[in-house]
């Protein structure tokens, strides 16, 4: 049977060493994304969305470790690769765009050098050819006067322009998968719209997959095909975007939808909030992580973690259920 998915994350669990011992940041996560598809991973701080992304590229650093699971990319398990193997994938087949365009570019290297370097490295092209490619890429992401800006350093670029450069770098080797972690959170809203539209167009053009990590439900609604909602390190609900918004099934997802002041809702009414505070990963309850804040929680919710189960076609939910 041919597998339509480009990436499959199976039963992934990740822990970090902290002052308070090992803390599980990602717990039994399953994800998949197909070519041409945009998957949004939504959640609040500490939900595990960024750690999931970093695990895919094996960028957890010294304090993090994968406890179990598989990350199948194009059929091979990324977790099994040695360092040289993963370096070949990183920046080539899978590219990542980070939140902070200010700190993710090297301030002492010119833009041309930073964009051309991965091309030279992964494609083994001569420097002059790599630079030509870099110019093309900068044009593609609509950097005005690209030829003349190759020699400029990052500080001469605005936040939006730097994020365009990041996208150009990410696209340098025609990656099959792009992971964008809060790519526009640091940008103004009119620039955010430009950047996300650009990212969406470029991935559509090349039929590559996009994993968009964000806390912004508006961005998700505009750009995602499918959504996975994370809470306390686990996926609590996943569905096609339209289905998730029109028919949210997990109490946390419902709570999130209610708590955003909509541009269409009635102003100055009280927002329906999720009471309480986000969970402390070092001190998670034995049952469902959302149970302490859940208006429907029953005994079983406090004792047992609910499994992610299919409740309709393409719609999964991890909840013991409620009326």
């Amino acid at each position: 049977m041919s597998n339509p998915n480009l990436l499959e994350v199976e039963d992934l669990s990740v822990s970090f060493r902290t002052d308070r011992g090992w803390v599980r940041a990602v717990d039994s996560v399953n994800l998949h994304v197909a070519p041409g598809e945009t998957l949004a991973i939504v959640g609040e701080s500490g939900s595990g969305k960024s750690v999931t992304a970093l695990s895919i590229l094996r960028l957890l650093g010294d304090s993090g470790q994968v406890d179990r699971g598989r990350i199948l990319f194009d059929g091979s398990d990324l977790l099994e690769l040695d360092d040289a193997g993963i370096r070949k994938i990183r920046g080539d087949r899978i590219a990542m765009i980070f939140q902070e365009p200010m700190s993710s570019l090297n301030p002492v290297l010119t833009i041309g050098k930073q964009v051309a370097e991965p091309i030279q490295l992964h494609r083994g092209l001569p420097w002059s050819v790599a630079l030509e490619h870099a110019t093309e890429l900068l044009k593609k992401v609509a950097i005005p006067d690209a030829e003349h800006r190759l020699g400029d350093y990052p500080h001469l670029f605005s936040g939006g322009m730097r994020q365009r450069v990041m996208i150009a770098m990410a696209l340098a080797c025609d990656p099959r998968l792009i992971i964008a972690d809060e790519p526009t959170t640091a940008l103004d809203v009119t620039v955010q719209a430009q950047i996300l539209a650009l990212l969406k167009d470029l991935t559509r053009e090349t039929n590559s997959a996009l994993i968009l990590i964000t806390h912004d439900l508006g961005v998700v609604a505009r750009y995602a095909d499918r959504v996975a909602v994370m809470y306390g390190g686990r996926i609590v609900e996943s569905a096609p975007a339209g289905e998730l918004y029109s028919n949210p099934q997990h109490p946390y997802t419902r709570g999130l939808m209610n708590s955003i002041p909509g541009l269409d809702g009635s102003p100055q009414s009280r927002l329906i909030t999720i009471e309480g505070q986000p969970p402390d990963l070092a001190n998670l309850p034995p049952g469902c992580a959302f149970a302490p804040r859940c208006p429907h929680a029953s005994n079983v919710c406090h004792d047992q973690k609910p499994a992610l189960e299919q409740i309709a076609e393409h719609h999964l939910r991890a909840c013991h259920g409620y009326e």
Binding site: E44, S45, S158, G159, G160, M161, D188, V189, T190, V191, Q192, A193, Q194, A197, H215, D216, L217, G218, V219, V220, A221, R222, Y223, A241, G242, Y245, S246, G255, L256, M257, N258, S259, I260, P261, G262, L263, D264, G265, P267, Q268, R270, L271, I272, T273, I274, E275, Q277, P278
Partner: protein, 337 residues
């Protein structure tokens, strides 16, 4: 619009406010080479009990305006009056009694609280500073009341900021701002650093407190949906100027300035059904540098409806019959007669 007319119910009046910063060069920065006109002729007034919002993108001057109202900055020109009293040139000593009535809530609850102070002391400090902590019992009672008011539990009093989540810290910041029983609270992006579910709690808290205590808010934000939810009136700023100002419904239902229209259309709505057939009017380019703003209407290089004279003459902020103010030649030519 008559500038000197004192509106009886206005708590804060800002008239033709200009805040210019010198750009210096050379050893010791002695030579002034340019001027950044961060705020360049802004007028608005706040009625007692209302929420008035300033929205705009980075560099539009909304935070500089807020700091001027707090008199943490001295305006270059213009006039700021609080409760009828001109405070534009007040010295710090003269500002002291006014400061009790104008307080500020900051954006970042992680860096705006002293990490070495207990929560109760952070909240009570303004009382001590202003000599209003008559005795220990009174002080403790006041702090306890403030904590209760913002939804903090009594057992949290002796803890330190690092033990709190973002939302709880923002509650501490709000309790501290309320300690002196102010009439006006300047809120600079008070919920933008918070998670969505916590943001809603704090928005509700702001609205409850306003009802309970009759507070007036000057609300600075870039999040359009939060602004729409909280405000009575809204002013949209672009590169140091107000380009549009109106009642909330008028502004959101029928925005007139092309920049406001583009700004509203850039904000994604959290509903794919709406998003899929919503016209997207992407504006090109980015906000130009305030150091060197475009001639004429400052929005003209990015405006889809720009006309020849937009690059030459700056439009005035003019009201239509409903009192909806717009600074755009598209309307001036029709209504200016």
């Amino acid at each position: 619009m008559a500038m000197n007319e004192i509106e009886s119910d206005s708590l804060l009046q800002v008239e033709d406010l200009k805040v210019h910063f010198p750009v210096t060069e050379g050893v010791l920065g002695r030579k002034q080479v340019a001027t950044v006109k961060a705020v360049d002729g802004v007028s608005f007034s706040l009625r007692s009990g209302e929420t008035f919002s300033l929205v705009g993108e980075s560099g539009c001057g909304k935070s500089t305006t807020a700091l001027s109202v707090m008199r943490m900055l001295t305006p270059t020109a213009g006039r700021i009056a609080f409760a009828g009293e001109d405070i534009t040139r007040h010295t710090p000593a003269m500002m002291r009694p006014i400061r009790r009535q104008i307080q500020m809530v900051y954006q970042d609850p992680f860096s705006s609280l002293n990490p070495r102070m207990k929560i109760a002391d952070i909240i009570g400090e303004p009382l001590v500073v202003h000599g209003m902590a008559r005795d220990k019992t009174f002080y403790r009672k006041q702090v306890a009341e403030l904590m209760d008011l913002v939804g903090l539990l009594p057992n949290m009093a002796d803890r330190y900021p690092h033990e709190f989540s973002g939302g709880q810290r923002q509650r501490v910041g709000i309790a501290r701002a309320l300690a002196l029983r102010p009439r006006l609270i300047v809120c600079d992006e008070p919920v933008s650093a918070l998670d969505v579910s916590i943001q809603a709690q704090i928005i509700n808290l702001f609205m409850d407190l306003q009802q309970e205590l009759g507070l007036t808010y000057l609300f600075i934000a870039h999040d359009i949906s939060v602004v729409r939810h909280m405000s009575d009136r809204v002013a949209v700023m672009y590169l140091g100027k107000i380009v549009e100002m109106a009642d909330r419904d008028a502004l959101f239902d029928s925005p007139r300035h092309p920049y406001t229209q583009a700004l509203l259309s850039a904000v994604p709505v959290a509903d794919p059904a709406i998003e899929s057939h919503r016209p997207q009017q992407l504006i090109v380019g980015e906000v130009p540098s305030v150091r060197n703003p475009p001639s004429g209407c400052r929005f003209h290089p990015r405006c889809v409806q720009a006309m020849a004279h937009c690059s030459q003459t700056a439009p005035e902020l003019e009201a239509n019959q409903q009192g909806h103010l717009t600074s755009c030649h598209l309307y001036a030519s029709v209504e200016g007669q």
